[in-house]
């Protein structure tokens, strides 16, 4: 056994001892989070209009009430079972989502088209060219972007908390950051990992 082997063996031993101490080992459900983020994002920015770019999102089976519960229940309709590992449906988050959709329709879509704003690499919206917006509208640019980002920050945090893992906030933010960019319309700007603006 050479020295290198010994080193790896010790490392493996340390790892296994450490692993034994860790009792909770929950992995972030990346794929489910991406699908959930995609649904959220499409609800906000609307369906893709260009037919050639239209992609049907992978369908998640709609939760169904169990048969037993349906038979027993006659007062309260049955609850939805949770089939996805990440659930982002709640009346509060839905309310924010519709507010974001309205804001997108009213302001942000035009500003994305004009290149005034872009998707930042941390899941937010960032102003990249104020002069692309007329003065009359520019006065609201800052305010609307601030409101949008406050909503987004709240959504990322609350999705993590609602799924029982506040520590997932950063991963949810990263997932959303990627999916906003993936769902960007052609011509919209986004930041790459180095913070440089790119065009979708």
């Amino acid at each position: 056994m050479n020295l290198n082997h010994l080193k790896w063996s010790v490392a493996a031993l340390v790892c296994s001892v450490a692993a034994a101490c860790v009792t909770i080992n929950v992995y972030f459900p990346e794929a489910a989070a991406e699908q959930a983020a995609d649904r959220f994002i499409r609800d906000v920015i609307g369906p893709e209009t260009e037919p050639q770019a239209a992609v049907v999102p992978p369908a998640i089976p709609a939760p169904r009430a169990s048969l037993v519960a349906a038979l027993v229940g006659f007062v309260i309709p049955s609850a939805h079972a949770q089939s996805a590992d990440i659930d982002i449906e709640s009346p509060q988050i839905n309310a924010i989502k519709s507010r974001m959709a309205e804001r997108h329709r009213q302001h942000l879509a035009g500003w994305f088209d004009a290149g005034a704003i872009g998707f930042s690499n941390d899941g937010l919206v960032e102003i990249r060219d104020r002069s692309a917006v007329g003065l009359a509208e520019r006065r609201t640019l800052e305010q609307v972007v601030a409101a949008e980002n406050a909503d987004r920050n709240a959504v990322y945090r609350e999705i993590a908390v609602a799924n029982g893992h506040p520590e997932w906030e950063d991963q949810i933010r990263e997932t959303f950051a990627r999916r906003w960019i993936a769902n960007a319309r052609p011509g919209w700007y986004y930041q790459d990992a180095g913070g440089r603006w790119q065009q979708a």
Binding site: A69, D87, R138, A146, A162
Partner: protein, 658 residues
Amino acid sequence: MSHRFLTVDRRLPGHAPGLAALAALVAASVAGPVGALQWTLQADAAVAGGLRVERLRVERAADGRVEAAVDGLVVPALGALGRFRLDCAPAALPCREGRLQRIDEAAGVLATANWTRGTEDLPDGGLALARTSDGWGLRVDGLELAAWLAAPQAPVMLQSGRMTGRASIAGGSGQFDLRIDELGFDTADGRYAGAGLRLDVEAEWDGRELEAGLAWRAGEVLLGPAYLPSPPVPVALALSVVPRAAGGRRVLGRLTADGLIAAGLDAGWDAPGALLRPDRASLELEIPSLGALWSLGPESIAAGAGWESLQVQGRLDGRLEWRAGQVGMLDVELAGVGIDDPSGRLSIRDLDGRLQRRDALDRAALSFETLTLYALPFGPASLRLSGTPEALALDEPARIPLLDGALRLDRLRIERGGEGPPGLALDAALEPLSLAELTGRLGWPRFGGQLSGRFPSVRLDRETLEVAGGLDLELFDGSARIENLAIERPFGPLPALAGTLTLDRLDLAPLTAAFDFGAMQGSLSGYVRELRLLDWQPVAFDAWLYTPRDSRRSRRISQRAVDQIASLGGGGAAALSAPLLSLFDDFGYARVGIGCRLAGNVCRMRGLEELDGGGYRIVEGRGLPRLDVVGFRRQVDWPVLLAQLEAATRGDGPRVDD
């Protein structure tokens, strides 16, 4: 080759001498020696106070035409303006008539003005120059600023604007009086912009003193986060600069807008120094109506921070003295301030406040009639604080009435040292207030009792308010405690509240009566842990409510309460058939326990114990007829459960019938 070249190929001396040299060259070209001589003057890279010229050329051709051209003119802020050329008609030296043009290498002539001697009878868009007895006079009439001064990729891009007015220069003195209409500008980064601006600009100097004035009469401006719409009254800035011994100077400034603002500045420099670091300065500020001024900037800044459409009133007066590089004296007074947030988060009535600083000691006083946070009205109250510029502390405990109780601040310390938001240390207590009034305010079913609490520390950072200690409630002959309170984004888009609620032996008889939930006798204990409210609605908790075994109260449950509980458990049937049940008004019970863990909009139910067959026992009966309530549904839609609870407590809930 009959031209004679005189090339100045060294860099002209900088700053004012450079400018003077440039002016001398231009003057020479205009008024220069008359003769048949053909000559060219050329200066490269003249630099004068940020002004740069690549080449200056004056050429007198054999036919007597004089052409003066400036190439590569760069003006600070306005950018590279390119080439300007003045053609003088033949036999017209000094240049009496001619043409001034701005030329772009690619686009050709951008602007042309007739160069006229004499300052009367100008055509539109004209420019006239006159030789006066001791200097020069200039007149412009509707000069298109963008054509003359706009450059692509300039830090400040002029988009529109017409200038009309006069200027005269004689020796070291001069004056100008200009009116600018429809000025539009934008900066490269888009942070600063203006549109439709109507400005009056004037200045007068005599080699020693300078008087200048700027009036903003109309048009909108964007200054970073502040948006200023067209002002309701003209906003005027007057400035005078008086030189002092040893290169020092005194600057007097006054900003006025009738009914909006009046500010005065008196600043002095003992020696030539940085513009923003005077040796001494005093500033006076008077805002007679915060409401009238609010729309001119503050409103847009507040809206950017999430406080849209605030209604503000009151007045502000302030005085500041700056000496030895710091604030020597400060006195700011707020009077009759009112704030109303249309979305109902905050409302303030009749707030008066004063902050004074003398010799690095601060004193602050604050009083208000009411301060309403969401539905909770605080006040009237007055607070006095004192300390240093780094830390302010409450002089004596303050009592802020809240309904029929009060919030008592025993200790309050605000630290402003360093970066980030001010630190806040607080020791507070809630003097008992009646639950009847509080619950009424919050739109809950009214019930009696008392609420009090003690908060030995409160931590506030950008997004989160964390409260150590807790609230004690005395209600329904029992007690309850709320702990681990934390509020995220208290005024933000989705306020979240976390906390823990513990219930200890509430008397079920008045409780069920208050909520109209049938009738039960006995005690109720339990907890709601990991509670999280979003937008003040529960989204997650782990709740367990039960009747403690050692209660001395009698244990009976009414027919209707059985129905309600049974329906919560998914309509799980009682052990007796409904017709038989209905013979009895109420039943004895040994114990009751029902739990719910809410997550993902679904309540996961549990009971006293698991039963064979998949049910869970909610009510364990006692005596005869013995009645057990068994739940079968494990997962209940929270909104449905909520609607059902609401219906139940209104007294028209669903009944078990057949």
